[in-house]
Structures are given as structure tokens and as C-alpha cells.
Symmetry: D3
Subunit: 338 residues, 6 copies
């Protein structure tokens, strides 16, 4: 019986090696990932029973996506198989002033063919405590959006806490469509995760700079408050990325809960692979809630988990709770562990 | 002004390294290929002015497909760009009793969106001597089939010799559809290339074993004769592959022209990569005709060119006319050339 | 509830790339394997519920061994963790007259520390139909041998069929020790798998050439008969490898059951990686019994499964029942599957 | 008809992977590059018709150098072939306080054998607008220097703008020889590109610090003014590299035109591969002139183009005008482009 | 006749490529290294005759460890061979806040079986000027500790200067055991190398902050003074690492000799591979003494040598004295050396 | 004091990976080799004290060539350093009917600059028993040829046995030049190694087919006899390669000594890398003479050593006497050695 269920698309990720551009790469590195799958894997790697639900094609790549997740301990028994293709995304790692690039090739993938009744949501959520999804899933098409709604209803009935990562993707849907669909889904949601830009794009919520002084903090607090007020979220987590360059980022986060804001440590990060760091944050936040961490430790934990993800190739966050805890305790020295 | 024009789809080829299966490969090797593109490249590598026509997406992979061909000397100036995705095929190399496998992921690729008028065929064929296409192109959809028809008409008007490689692909269309479409296109064709199986699948032509003795040869001759008689081909080339295993093949061919059959040498081949060998044969046959080789040398040349292709990774046949000629002259010893 | 349980050691396999010797390799390819683990994985890849039992160190390599098996669908929930190191084997691929080489570095590995009571064998075998082990496990030390005995007893009580692969390893124990230990364990065994050399080394059973004519076959039949008679095996399977060179082998097998011998097809194999092929044979034989194949099809199936394994890098047999069936039906042509 | 022609040597570049030293590398990465070839490729990648003229050996490496450039759209039809060897340069990437190292192995390369009349310069420059060369070409020997002179004369007759990148190479010629040869060639030049050190080495021009305050800027301005005054250049571009370490550089530039100095943004760069960045700057400057950018945008463009080059492996600058423009507009954040 | 002899263990080093974690790496990079072997290799690469003494298994990995050292010029003729296994260490490179990790698998390695009389120490040290060992060797077990004592006695008799690198390894022995064994060995030692943490762990020596002002420096000086006073060392070298993250370190050192402290330059380092940097420091210090550098140049030299090591993959410091000297002279710019 | 000295050129070998052509390879594998260096390394790997003499450039590649040989135990102390470049050869592995190709880039290499007196030959040969060289060395130019003469004289004075491998290289000199130079050198030679083609090219000696029956054998015997008679060789070894394809060769040899011919076993070989196999044969023959094997065992040993070399990447023959002996005893089965 899983503790957490996530639902979304897992894609084949084909990344150029090192800092090669698409124009140069003699080969592409094969891994698998996707927002909700990454969250399930991160939770499983932290020792939480997590299941991932999706629809995959009946071919070798579908098999391998499952093998990847199952290998890391994710319960894949609820995944359904069918027609459609394997979603693919191509990734080119940036450096310095050159941005990383993603070419999505996910149109007509198996999950976009999901039909009502394909998944028996009520049995999926039996005994489950937490359901997580992201704004990418309803963006995959009306069928996928309908499935998210059905899942949310079933999860709510089963007494799950529901979290969402807003994750607006402009190449999947328009801002207007996103606003309409996401607004309808928010009543199911207890914990909302996103960044300032998502809040504005999807909900037209912009932070006001209420006082002078610690300006930025107040703006984020304001975003958290507005989101909480509008959708009655129990908690809102905002990630605060400072994009200095493709090689270096500042990274921190805020958790707004019970009318109070909690800010994490800020990390200066030399980036190895930042794809999936947001998902690691979400997983860290879910982990923290399941462990009943207080809000300050919760935001510290999720932020540290995601800081570590920036240093690991691939979508998945191969870190242990021990490693996260060490960073939360303040050891960011990177000394060799023998 | 190119001497030869080919038209079809070029795909991104993602192959597992060594003999790894899809389930195992940590990376995929990136090259580009497709029947007609392979023919154009082989001709360019033999010093013939060759142009390739297709429709490619407006993204990095489309750019790179062009760069690949242009690098080898193919004229890519007639390629058009537009919407749709890059066709992809995944390749896993077999060995011994384990077959090589291909997973096609080419549905909805840019060429399937080709529209009437996208290509100005009469200007494409101005001054051109030879037009080559394969049975894969019309199988890509009605739009592509219409484009083949339009191209054939324009090529015929321009006085081109037209060759086809039958290349039936069961996952692209049904036998019935292939029969209907291909039968309509044959009147344009002068030189028909295929194997015994294609002849039967696409035209229901089966070789009869007319005499005892050198049985097989007679059966192939009969196929050649029937094809020639039915469609008034100037020449029919039949490739004769003996699949001993995924690692070893016997390889030879027959050319049927002016009511006579010419058989090539038979090669025992240790296979490195057999994908694209049929295309190398077609290119060799076109080269032989352009060089006005006699039929015996023509079939020897095309067979030798394709024998060499089996030893080269990727779709493209990186061999020089000098190397083909050496093999035609009988040196298959593989001695180190210092 | 698994259908099959296997028990033994899984090691980290570090293989030189290509045909590099240990003296040359700049890197080593990391996979995991071991006789009984390979059998469990092959069964899981064929759709059988299979569990693997072992004792692994509490470190990253132990975690990864588990991830490897779990990814392929093996039930790893019965694996115990503890002190001791990860067993390692280094592999160098031979070619032609140069033999492949293995350097074992498995002394003092975690499984050699297994203690009575570490595994609750009766709960392990609840509901299980088949138990498989090999002669390697008891050779790992007295503790491991005791665990095999305990496992056999519990399996017998649970009504399991028990199979053994004799697999004598001269660097793990002496012939005398093997004879003593294995003879004591044979009463539990229903199905015995091995080759002629194992039979002689472990049980001093040598085939007599009873008649002239098809000499070899009779010798193998005699080995099968002697083994069956001595230990009351329900079936004896003898693999017949002809080592032509490190690159090429002849491969076939005999199944002796109910006083009758059944011989498989003989395959000429170009070898990619022959390590684990015996395990694939054992898995194929177990699969065949579980599917209630008749003896002729059973030996054909197991031999074909193992023939395919020779073409796949690593210890694990990444093939599907569909692929095995195609080879059993006689298609060893290796034609490209599109 | 190309818009730009460049003339020089293209070499085979053999680089150690990652940060391996020559003493360690198990393999070397093969690409091709050289000052003027890099400029031609960068222009072609920006959509400018560019041709590269050189003399290459009649072997596979000569063929491949051509294929590399032709693939990126460079017109290679003016390249001549002949005796002599392929120039090679070996590259080892530095890091931190350890410098990158280059071992040149270009003596006796094909271009050093270039003879008067090998290239028909007047036909080369027919219809061409811009000719670019660097101080490396005349340093390759008297024959090459004579060819540069002949090329300059023909380009001038054809009405081309001529640019030079000073690029002093101490292992190719002495300072005295460089001064003599380069001074004779400067009357042909309209646009001079270099750094402060080149100006001093080749022309004994040293910047004076005329005022206190913004000291450095004034010194560079003084260098620009002196160069302009002495050789009547229409424009002088000075690149300003701050070598903090092999991993990090400050990067900016100054353009001095019509008695005025324009300074670019300064970039802090995490270096992936800085070889060829000067050539990217030159190409950006030529592009800017052809697009008639004003001086401020011109220096911004060239500097941004070169900043991006530092992040791309190999000599060639695989960037699009869109990417350069984004950086010129100020987005150096490196955010993932999806 | 070597000038320097070192004694200790050399291990097989198996490192994940790039920044892959143990959980991800498809292959491991094979090199060899160990504290005292690294010192011998660094000295040989600097042109000093250096011999390494150890005990290695009689297998291919033992052979290769020898080949590695011999290739770099180390005299390996005193190495003895025997039973036991090859010590292995697995390395995973960290980045940013994620620490590098080492999994040692060296228990029961050949050197731990070293017996009295295996090495004829008096002949080993005939004509030798310097003996170096580290705190790792006596930690390998009582036999190894006894061998260190025997070696020290023989070296002293032969008139050698003896240096030690304290190098406490908590997974090899306890602090108490280390204190006892190391304290007994110190009377043989002339030059002691370590860091502040080693001094405290092994000798309970903690630096006092005697004055305000340049606080840290005084603390280190105090450690140097205490060590010198207690053990009558001729010189104490303390390395001062600031672990900002796994990607960046500050690096400097202090040499305390004749009651005076000498501090080196401080380097900001972008780390490629920091394993073995301490050994490079020790080798640089020995080199400096053999060259009779004054204390200020000695600490500058050793610190620069080690700074360069941080940029080189593997345990060995592939740098030349020329390169070290250039950095000592102040050129840390990393400009390309052509 | 070495037992064997060889003299010649060692080159940097840059080979395409797998079966890639020069046109395709993204990287080249770096090793070092050359006829006489390969012989020295093979002897050192067999436990014979062997020294290699050459002249190498004073750069990193020269250092690395030395490190390669020294690592395998070759005495490199007699190698001299100086101006000139590192000789390079590019290698592309053939397959099936496609030949392997070598592009030499060795003109003007350091050894071609060798001057009289650079090597003190009389001290080189003090205490040495055997001197080996090949027909490549005098072909490198008059200076190298003079050095061979000087070396032969000194070796003779020192009482060495002298062996030559004829090794005619048509791209280094003409047949006429070779005949003149080699004929002058033969009086120094005791043991002559070559193939039938070399004998004809260099000495115009052709085997007569004296009787019918075992025709070929008699022809080779006749070549051996003629060579022996003409130059008073103590032994003549003729290698007999049957080039079936680039993937498969038949391999055997004949030793003609004391008027009698001894033929080896014939091996059918699946080729991994056949470059250097002739050198392995020569080394095996020298080894056999030093061990005083009888002629039949001598030819068996040398042929087996070379058969094994065909299976090993690179120029060097990484095999042990144990492995050669096993093959000589008849075990060519390639069974896994555990």
C-alpha cells in the first residue's frame, strides 16, 4: 500500500554529453524522467512507499521507463499500457551565459490517449495518504486533464492530502487555458508549490512590495498570502531561484503556512544538472509533511534536497535522507566522505 | 545542377552501442539516415552530383540532418522546412540468432505534412538525369504519395530515368494499399530494385522454378522477367540475401536487363551494420548506369558497394569508388592498406 | 507471492570494454550478476513472479544490486542486509584462441556471513512452487552451505519443486568437499542441471560409450541415466557446449526425463558474452516446467533461451518469451525486426 | 556567390577528453578548426554566405576537414588539394591555475606548399564583399605570406572590405619577421582586430595611461587610436580578456571607430572551451558590419558571440543569431529554454 | 639507487565518470593510487629517483599497479608479491554542496599480510636519502605497523631523513590506537606533514589563539610549534584547506621550521579531482628539501604543486617542475600555453 | 643489463573506435607502437630483459611513448631525445571485405634526425645477447640506415645474435633502394623473419613449386632454403597468412633451420586487431631461441604468440608465457578461465 501516489507523464530523456550542443553530440545519454515520476522516485529513495500512475506505450521504452522507476523502489503496478508513443525530451546542457535547452517531442504520447475508466482511481487511492500532481499533466490534453480531475476526486474521497506543483509549460497550453483548468482544480489542493512566475502566469497573482527594507522577502510573502487566501491552501511553497548563469544559481525557498512565512538557507550552487530540481523540492516538502517536520525544518529540508539535486546528472534525485539531513545541519563543505 | 535527385524521409537514427539491447543502453548513438537520403549520400561520396529533397522540421534536428548530408556533398538546397516533428528510428544491433530490431517513431513527422505546391518539382528536375525514390515514401501517407506522383510526372517531363526501390514496410501500410499505390506509380519507373519478397508482397509476383538444376537462379530470373514484362522496366535488380544469422549473411544480386540475367559474385559477410545496405546497392546501380557500365559490371559494382556497406556503422556508405572497384576486381582479402 | 525463489550470491561485475585485457582497460563496465540472481531475473523477464534471496552489504553497491534486480521485476523483499563486503568479479572478454578470464574477488562477502535464523525460510517459501539454487552457493562457506540445507528443507516442506545447477567452481572449494556437501543435498533435488564435466567432478559419474554410431549422444544419455538413477531426479538436463574458440561455440542440450532423452537443436553461435548462458538455460528449463511444456519443447526452449543469452552483454538474459519462441520455431536468421 | 571569403589553415584538432592531461588521455576527440575556418563557419552558422580558401592534403583527413565546414554551410568549392600533410594541433584543457596547452604539429602541412597560381584569386573574389585573414596565415611560411599578399590585392581590386585578426604566434615566426611582413600587409586592411599584446608584439604599439581614473579603458583607447592613425584603419577592435584562471575569465571588448571608442558589456565566464573565442569575436564583428549595426551594437554583438563560444566544445561557434541577440539584450541568466 | 623511498599501499581506484553517483554509473574509471605511491610518482615525475615499496597480489591488478608506477618512472623493483587481494577504493566525485564519497574495499589486501622479513629493509635503504610514509600504512594492521617500524629503523640507520604525512583514517583504526602507534613512531620522524585536524586527532594538539588580529595564522603557528616541540621535528608542514564546497576550495599551507612560520600564497581552486592533493603537497615538500629551497620557497612550491593536482583527474600529479615553478612565480592565469 | 636490444621507431597510434571509418570517428584511441618497440614490449611481458633504442622528440608525446614501454618493463634508458616531431599513424579497422587502413604521418619524425654518435652503440650492446631490428628502420632515411649499420657492427662485436624482420614498406622507400640497403645489411643477420612477399620484394627470391602434392609447403621451404643459402642465415622464419577477409585469417608459420623445415599449427582466427602480430611472431621466435626451444617448439611458440596478438587491441601483445604455452599445448577452445 503506497503512502504517496503521483500521476503524470514519464518521458525518455535524451541528453547531449558534457556541454555539447545538439549540433555536435555523437551520442545522447538515455535516462527517464518527468515531474511526477521524479517526485515518486525521490520519495522512494527517501524510504517512503510511493506509487506512480501513468499510461505508457507497449514497447521496450515503456518497459524501460517502468524498470527505471521500479529499480529505485517506486511501485509501478498501477501503470497502464496502451497505444501511442513514448514521450521524448531532448536536453542540451548550457554553461555560463548559454542557456540549457529542451526540445520536447511528447505530442501524441501514450498518456495523451488516456480514457475515462482506464484507471480505477478509487482502488488506486485505497489506503493512500498523499496525492501529488503538477500543472504539466492537465496541460497534456483534455483527456489528461479529465484524468487529473477524476484522480483528485478519488484522492479527496480517500482522505488524501493533495499537493500540486504549478509548473506552467508555455509550449503545452496557453496561459488562458491554464488559468481556466488550473483554477477549477485548485479546490482539491491542500499544498501548492510553485515559483513567483507560475503564480503570475497561472493565477495572475503578483507580489506587492509592501514595505521598504527586505523588499524581496515581502514580495514573496505576499504571493504566498494571496495564494493561500484565494484557494484556502494549507501551505504554499515558493522556490526562489536566482539565475546568475547556466553554471551558477542562487537557490532558496519560502514556505507560507498558517499565515506565517519561513525562509530557507540560500545556497550558491555550481550546477551539474538542474532539471528535476523543482521536483526534488516538491518531494522534500511532501517528505517533510509526512515526517511532521515543523515549517522551518520543512522548508530547510526541501530546499536542501533540491540543492543536492542540482549536482546530480539526470532527472532523479539520488540522495539519501542522511545526506539531506547533513546539509540541513549546515555542512555544505563538500569534504570527501570516506 | 545535380545529376541525380532522390526524394523521401531522413530520420534521426538512435542506435544502441555495441550489442546492447534497448533495455540496457546507457546512451544512443546519433546519426541520420533514410532510404533515399542514403542513396543521395552514397552517390555524392562516389563523386556524383546528387540532391536530396524532403521536408524537415524547423528545429536543431532538422538542421543537423541537413548538415549531415551537406557535409558529405549532397545538395540540400531543395529541402523545405516546416511544422511536424523529426522522424526517429531506434536501432538495436542483433548478433547470432538474435535479430536486430528497429522501433520506428516517425508518425506525424514533417514530411507527412507535405502539401501540394510545397516543392516546385519542375524546377527541382531542371537539368537532372535521374530520379530515385523508394516504396517507403508513398507509404508515409496520402500527402507523401501525392508528392511522389507529382515528382515522377515532373521527372518524366524533364527526361529523367526513374528508379524505385520497392522496400515494402509492413508497419507503414497494408499490402493492399501498397499494391494499389505502387501499381499506379510503376508506369513512371525505368529501373526497379527489390528482393523476391517485395515482388511478392507488392505485386504478387512469385518466381516459378522452371527447371531442376540451378533452381534458385531460375526462380530469381523468373521474378525479374515477370516484373519486366508487367511494367516494361528497362532493368530489374534483385538482391539475394541469405540470412544465416544476424552476424553473418550471404550477399549477392541479379540484374535482369534486355531479357537477360546477370549474377554477381556472392559474398560471405561478417556484419557490422547491415542497415542501409539495400540503399547502397541502389546507389551502386545508379552509379553503374551513369557510368554506362555493362550489365555484368553494373551488378558486380552495386553488389560490391553494398557488401562494403555491411561493414560500416550507420546508414551511410562511406566508401570510395576506388574501394568498390578493388572489391569488384576480386580483392576481398581485407589486407591492411598502408 | 512469488512462484519461484532462488538463493545465492549476486556480485558486482566489472568487465573490460570490448576485447581489452585487464592490462589495458581504461574503464570497467558495471553490472551485477550471479547464478541464482540471473535465473530469477530471466524468469521475471519472462513474466514469472520470481524472488531472489541473498545477504548484501549495507552500502551503495548492495543498494544497486537490489535496484538492478528490482528494476527487472525480481522480488527483492526477502534480501537481508548486513556486514561484509560486496562480492566482485572482474571479467575480460576473450576472442578466438584467447580465453575469457574471470578474477573473482568475493572472499568475505556479505553472504559468507549469513547466520542461522537470518532468513525465515518457512515464510520465504509460503505459497512458492519452485526453489532453485546452484553449486556455487554451498561452496561459499559452511554458513552458506548450512543456509542452502535449511532452505531446501523449508522448500520441501512447502511442497516446492527444487532444481539445482551443479556449477562446480574449483577456486571456491575442493572436489572432495564438493562431493561431500553436494551429495548430502541431492535428496532434496528434483531437477538437476549440469554439464558432463560437473557430473564427473562432483559425482564421479562418467558417461560410457555404450554403442558405436551416435557415440556422443549415448554418452550424454548415460550420464543422464546414472544421475537419475543415483539421486532419483525427476529430470536431468545436460548442456552440451562445443568450445570452438572464445568467439564461436556450438550449443545444444539434452533433457533426460522418465527414462528417455530429448535433444535440442544445435546452434552455431557467434559469442557476444557467454557468461550467464548456463543460468539462462536453467531459467528456461524452469519456465518450461511451469508452463508444462513437453520434454522436447522444454529442452528446445531452454536451449534457445540460452542461445540468445550468448548475444547479450552482461549476466542477465534480456529476452522475451516471444523472442525465445521465435527461435524455438526455427527462425535463427537474425533478420531485422522492424 | 559568397559574401565573405576567409583564407588560412584548417587543422585537425585532437583534444584530450575532460580535464585529462596528454599523459593520461586514453583517446583524443577529433574536430577540425583554425582561425579563418572558424570565422567562415561562424558566419555560415549566422546565415551569411561564407567561403573558406585553403590547401589541403589529398587524404581522408583533408576530406573530413572539408566535410566539417561544408556541413555547417561553408562554401568549400575554392579549396585546393595537393601534397603535404594535414596540420594537427593537440589540445589539453586546463582548469584553475593549470593552463590549457596546445602542441602544434603543423610543420610541412599542405598549405605551406601553396604556390603562386594555385588559387585564382580574382575569380575567388568575384562578387565578394568581405575578405578576412589572420596573422597566422603569413606566419606559415613565405609561400603562405605571398598568397596572403596576392589575396589582399585581388580582394582590394574586387572592392572587398578586408579585416585581419593580428593573432601573433610566437612558435611560427619571430617578432621581427612578423613586424616586417604584417606592416607590409596593413595597407590593405580596413578593420583590424587584436588584443593589446598583439599590438605591442607586432607593431610595438603600447597604450599610454593618459589620465588617472578609468585607467585601463584609456590605455585601450590609446592603442586603438595609435593603430588607426598609423594604418588608417576604418575600425580597430580590441578584445579585453582577464585571465583569472583557466576556468574563469572576464571577457569584454572595445571598438574604436571614427575617433571614438565603444565598450561592450563585461562577462564573467565559466569556461568550457575558450579556443576559437577570438575567431568568434571576429566573425561577430564582420556580421555586425554586414548588418550595418551601429558601433555600440557591433561591439556588443561580437563580444556576446564570443562569450557564448567559451561555453561550447570545439573550435566552432555553434550559436544562432537569435541566441546572440538574446545575450545582447541582456539575458545572461542561463535559464532553461524549453 | 633511488634518492627517495616510500612505503605503503597502492589501491585500484574505481571512480564514477563525471559527477555520476554510485547509483548511476554505467562504468568506472580505472586508475591506481595510494598516499605513498602518489608521493613516489610525483617525485619521479619531477625527475627525482624514487622507489615505492609495497606488497601486491600475484594477479593482473597487481601487475597493473606496478606498470602504472613504473610507467611514470618509479622504481618498483623492491615491491614484493604474494597472497591476499588487491585493495580497491571506489570514488564518486561530488559537486557543490554534495560531498565526494569514497567506499574503501581494502580489507585483507596483500599488504595486510606482510610478514617480518618479507622486505630486506637494510638493502632497501642502501644509498637512499629520504624515507616517506603516511599514517595510513600502520593503520592497515599490526603487520603493516610492524613493517613501518622496521622500515623506520633501517632508514634511520642508513642516514635517511624521514617524513610522515599524518593522514588519520577513521575507518581503519580508532583514535586511541592511532595515538599509541603513531606516538611510538614519531621519534624516527624529521619532517611532519598534516592538517590541524590530524594534529588534534592523532596527538591531541590544538592550536591556541594567542593574540587577536591575524587569528587563524597564529593558531596554525601554535600547532606547528607544539608538534615541533613535542617530537623534535626539524620541520612541520600544515595544509590549510577551506572547503567552500565540493567544487571550490581555498588552498594554502604553512611551514614551521627553526621556530619560524612561513605561509604560502592562498589559491582559490575550481576542483577537478582533489584526491591525492595532500600527497602532492608532501612530494613537493620533499622535492623542495632535496633541492635545498629556503623555507619560504619550499612551502610555496609544495602548495603550488598541490594546487595543480586539484585540476588533474586521478591520484597522480602529472605536472612538471616547470609548471610548478611557473605557478610559484605567480602565473595562475591559466592562459593557453601554445 | 638487457638480454635483448631492439632499435627502431615508436609512433603514436591513433585508431578509430570499433569499425568506424576515418570519415566518422568522433574520437581516436591513443596507444603507441612500432615494429621494434612491439618486439621489446612482448619480450618484456614474457619476462625477458629487453631494451628499446630510439630517438624521440622532447615533448609530452615522446614522454608518453617512453612511459608506455617502461610501464610494461622495457628498459628505456638508452632512448635519446631531440628535435623533430612524434611519428604518428592513423588506423581504421576493416571488417569483412573492407580492408583495414593505415595513414602514416611519420615524415620528419625525431628518429629521422638521428646523427652519427647520438647513440654510443658499443655501450648499448655491452652484455647484450640479441639485437633485433626490422626493415622499417633503414627505410626511415639515410641517417636511420646508417644508424642500423652502426648498431649491427657494434652488436656483432659484442657477440650478439642479430635478427631482422624484413617488413618491406612501399611508402617509405622503393624496392630498388630496399634491395640495395638490405642486401648490405644481411651479412650481419643470423635469424631472418619475413613472409613470402617480403622475400620476393626485397631479395627477388621466389619459391619454386618443386613437386606436386603438398605444393604450398614446398614453395615456402624453397624460399627458406634460398634465403639461408644466399645469406648464410642460421634460421629463416616465414609467416603464412591467409587473408580470408579483414575479419578472418588463417595463420601459421614455417621455421627453416639446419636445412630442415618445421611447420606450425594453423589457426583460424577471428581478428580483433592484427596490427603488430608479425612483431609478436618475431618476439616469440627470439623468446624461443633464448629458451633454447627445439625448432618445432620454437615455430609453434612464435605462431601461437602471434595468434593471440590478433585478439588484442593495440600494437602490444599483452599475453603471458603461460597463455602462450597453453595454446601451444593445444587448448584453443577459448573456455572461460575462472
Amino acid at each position: 500500500m503506497p503512502t504517496v501516489v503521483t500521476f503524470g507523464e514519464i518521458m525518455m530523456r535524451l541528453a547531449t554529453p558534457g556541454h555539447n550542443r545538439f549540433a555536435q553530440a555523437s551520442h545522447l545519454e538515455v535516462t527517464f524522467g518527468g515531474g511526477e515520476a521524479n517526485v515518486a522516485a525521490a520519495l522512494a529513495l527517501s524510504g517512503i512507499d510511493a506509487a506512480f500512475v501513468t499510461r505508457l506505450p507497449q514497447n521496450d521504452w515503456g518497459d524501460r521507463a517502468i524498470a527505471t522507476l521500479r529499480g529505485q523502489g517506486v511501485d509501478t503496478s498501477r501503470i497502464i499500457r496502451g497505444d501511442g508513443r513514448m514521450g521524448v525530451y531532448f536536453l542540451e546542457h548550457g554553461a555560463g551565459p548559454r542557456a540549457s535547452r529542451v526540445i520536447y517531442d511528447r505530442a501524441d504520447s501514450a498518456i495523451s490517449h488516456i480514457a475515462e475508466g482506464d484507471v480505477d482511481w478509487s482502488s488506486v487511492f485505497a489506503g493512500v495518504k498523499w496525492f501529488h500532481w503538477t500543472g504539466i499533466t492537465p496541460a497534456l490534453g483534455d483527456a489528461a486533464a479529465a484524468a487529473v480531475t477524476a484522480a483528485c476526486k478519488a484522492a479527496k474521497s480517500a482522505g488524501c492530502t493533495i499537493s500540486v506543483d504549478l509548473n506552467f509549460r508555455k509550449n503545452l497550453w496557453t496561459r488562458e487555458k491554464a488559468q481556466a483548468v488550473m483554477t477549477d482544480l485548485m479546490p482539491f489542493v491542500d499544498v501548492c508549490i510553485g515559483n513567483e512566475e507560475d503564480a503570475e502566469t497561472v493565477f495572475s497573482i503578483k507580489g506587492a512590495d509592501v514595505e521598504t527594507g527586505s523588499i524581496d522577502r515581502n514580495r514573496y510573502i505576499d504571493v504566498g498570502r494571496q495564494l493561500s487566501d484565494r484557494f484556502q491552501f494549507k501551505a504554499v511553497a515558493i522556490t526562489l531561484r536566482e539565475s546568475i548563469s547556466a553554471s551558477r544559481n542562487g537557490w532558496s525557498a519560502m514556505l507560507y503556512a498558517q499565515n506565517q512565512a519561513y525562509f530557507s538557507e540560500r545556497y550558491d550552487i555550481d550546477i551539474v544538472d538542474r532539471v528535476g530540481s523543482g521536483d526534488s523540492f516538491a518531494a522534500g516538502m511532501i517528505y517533510a509533511q509526512l515526517q511532521a517536520f515543523d515549517p522551518q525544518r520543512a522548508v530547510a529540508w526541501a530546499t536542501a534536497a533540491a540543492a543536492l539535486k542540482h549536482t546530480i546528472p539526470g532527472d532523479l534525485n539520488f540522495v539519501s535522507p542522511t545526506e539531506i539531513a547533513r546539509l540541513v545541519e549546515g555542512d555544505a563543505s563538500g569534504r570527501v566522505q570516506r
